[in-house]
Subunit: 413 residues, 2 copies
């Protein structure tokens, strides 16, 4: 436990103040840089998505896009290919400063993946850009392990916050993601301040460039009663179980992609299969899928939508496309929640919102961050429903998750 | 670290499900009982406050009320006199089941303290009632240490949630309060479910008895910009520093009360001093002070209001009156925030709301619970301001706090 009894002492203030000013300074600098990078990512993804939607024929070039991403990482990115897991590993057992090239490589890889229609996300990108930018400072300032850990967490926090426009969730996500079942607070202030700065800068820049953050809206929240309480738990259990399919899916498809010995060929083969598939099933399930996520809040989605998105996204990730898993997890949760409205007597927008964050909670084991994210995106009205769904999904996802480098700090049961 | 790598396994589900049903069952039973008790406390305090306001002459009987409380604890309550700290000690080093009489004794002690006009709170009462009720189940079901720990946390969570009407804050408060700087998640689901149930029951019962929870309202939240960001941090630092005065105040006055060797005499002497003081300064600073807290959201309060409340409350607690510190901490924070509006260019209601939760955060070292409480009470609009204030206050309160049995899990800096 390493616990020491607390002391009452005025003499703590000089050291508290010094530390505070240090982290405030880093928050302003790193938050600004990562905020600008997050806005650039949002704007670039907006451009590539619009271009693809206007020129759907480009999807046939997905194998070429895949080849580009594959060669890029094979020849320049071997040292940064592990992405989010690499950040977690550096946090758990620090070794080397994360190469700065992680940031431009993942940026480029993600924009190309989206331009040609892969089914991937964008949070991995933001978190890696944040982590790579932030960790340069630990090199420049020759930081010790303890401070470097805080700096990397600040990178994660600011990337998350800048991308999704959710500073509180970003800060708590960085604290929660490292260890399943346990968080430590020594980075809480730096993570919060940098998230607020990054979110502010990202909002200002993307607003200036006319690419605002998406607004989601839960339009009806019924009074909690015994029946709703149990339905909410039921939905949370489903969200948790579904989130495990996602982690399993990546593992499943990786078995196949590993038969292709030359890694740059993997996204070529994967991209070909995707392009043919998209030709038959249409473009609903590719890219970020924001329009479908928004639609889930108003219209009952098909019961199979979430399943198709799981298959396509885990396939794309296993075959080497870049971007991350979180926006697809939002898609999966929102469409599943929406479909549940067929037999769960809760409003469709509430179920979609609960699924949006709860599947993410189950897949990443970050229940408090996801609850905060739900409140930041949808408002406090549905807060209790969202919290129950996120925490129940967290419990029912077991000790699995999309980040294989997470370590179990405290067992769930 | 005791971390084991996570496993993927379907075979976890039977044990997860079994545990889940067990804790859901306890949540329903304990949540209902504690919810009813919380409502009873709210109603009784409402009655005693109204009675005192209508018959102010009763305040001269404060020494008699004090004698009653003193004798009560001296002859019947020696084994439960440590209150909240006793709960924390049982959590850290489990020894004996908490005697059930903790619940009726603290209930009676608190209502009498309020009836005659002591300056105390009510959260300690709710938490002790919750803990005492919950811990009986660990005896009846012969629970092991691990489960008993969860049960006591459920008692704390449900007491807090039922009293303040803030289930998310209640759940996280129970997880955060034990160790400074560290939380473990194995109780997260039971704590959340029991908090939701207790809050639901408490709301229904108190609504039925026409004693609704107080509604606070932040009516204007300016857009965050650089200047507001720094003002918010500045306010958070002040809130944190002021919160340490509270902990120091209890220590300071306890030196004097300890000169009175026969404990039941302490509240008699203390009550006499209070009654004389109140005769001169009026009744603004006694009891819970809800009207003044509400007024802080609209009207700029005096710069000395918070200081007087600190002195009176720490005096009353040191001299043996019962109830707890939290509502006085709300009073202190809200009036201080309100007074700050004289020179901090943020809206008065926002500053009052920030202070309300941030001084509490500094005094109890529970920044995430306090942020959630702020959002639950005031809505998400001011969420970022509230979070910065709570986290900054947490850092600037150092390793001090009102719960002397808290253990430092991870140092703040």
């Amino acid at each position: 436990m390493n616990g020491f009894r607390k002391q009452y002492s005025i003499s703590d203030y000089p050291s508290i103040t010094k530390e505070f000013i240090k982290w405030l300074g880093f928050s302003l600098v790193i938050g600004t840089l990562v905020g600008i990078a997050s806005a650039a990512l949002l704007v670039s993804l907006n451009w590539s998505t619009n271009y693809r939607e206007a020129h759907k024929v480009i999807i046939w070039l997905l194998p070429i896009g895949g080849l580009f991403v594959g060669l890029l990482y094979h020849y320049y990115g071997q040292s940064v290919a592990k992405g989010n897991n690499q950040l977690l590993e550096e946090l758990n057992t620090p070794k080397d400063i994360i190469p700065f090239k992680m940031a431009p490589l993942i940026f480029l890889g993600t924009v190309v993946s989206h331009l040609f229609g892969a089914s991937v996300g964008r949070e991995g990108t933001a978190v890696q850009i944040g982590g790579a930018i932030a960790d340069q400072f630990s090199g420049w300032f020759k930081m010790n392990k303890h401070d470097r850990r805080i700096i990397i967490l600040m990178g994660i926090s600011s990337g998350f916050a800048g991308l999704f426009g959710t500073p509180l969730a970003g800060a708590v996500f960085a604290l929660e993601v490292l260890l399943i079942g346990k968080i430590k607070y020594n980075a809480i202030l730096p993570c919060l301040l940098v998230a607020v700065v990054s979110n502010y800068v990202s909002r200002e820049v993307s607003h200036y460039l006319h690419v605002p953050h998406t607004h989601y809206h839960i339009d009806a929240v019924p009074k909690l009663n015994t029946l709703n309480f149990f339905w909410c738990i039921f939905a949370g259990i489903l969200f948790g179980i579904v989130s495990t399919f996602f982690s399993k899916g990546v593992k499943f498809f990786s078995q196949f992609s590993k038969y292709i010995k030359y890694p740059p060929l993997r996204p070529v083969i994967g991209g070909t299969a995707m392009a043919v598939l998209i030709y038959f099933i249409g473009t609903k399930y590719i890219g970020l899928g924001i329009p479908t996520i928004l639609e889930s809040f108003n219209t009952t989605m098909n019961t199979y939508d979430f399943a198709i998105k799981i298959i396509l996204t885990t396939f794309c990730i296993a075959f080497g496309f870049k971007g991350g898993e979180v926006t697809p997890l939002f898609f999966i949760g929102a469409t599943l929640g929406s479909a549940l409205s067929m037999f769960v007597p809760l409003p469709i927008s509430l179920l979609a919102g609960m699924g949006f964050v709860a599947v993410f909670s189950g897949a990443t084991n970050t229940p408090i961050a996801c609850t905060l994210m739900g409140i930041e995106l949808f408002g406090m009205e549905g807060g209790v429903y969202i919290a129950i769904a996120c925490v129940t999904a967290y419990i029912f996802s077991g000790h699995t998750g999309i980040y294989t480098s997470q370590i179990v700090g405290v067992a769930k049961t």
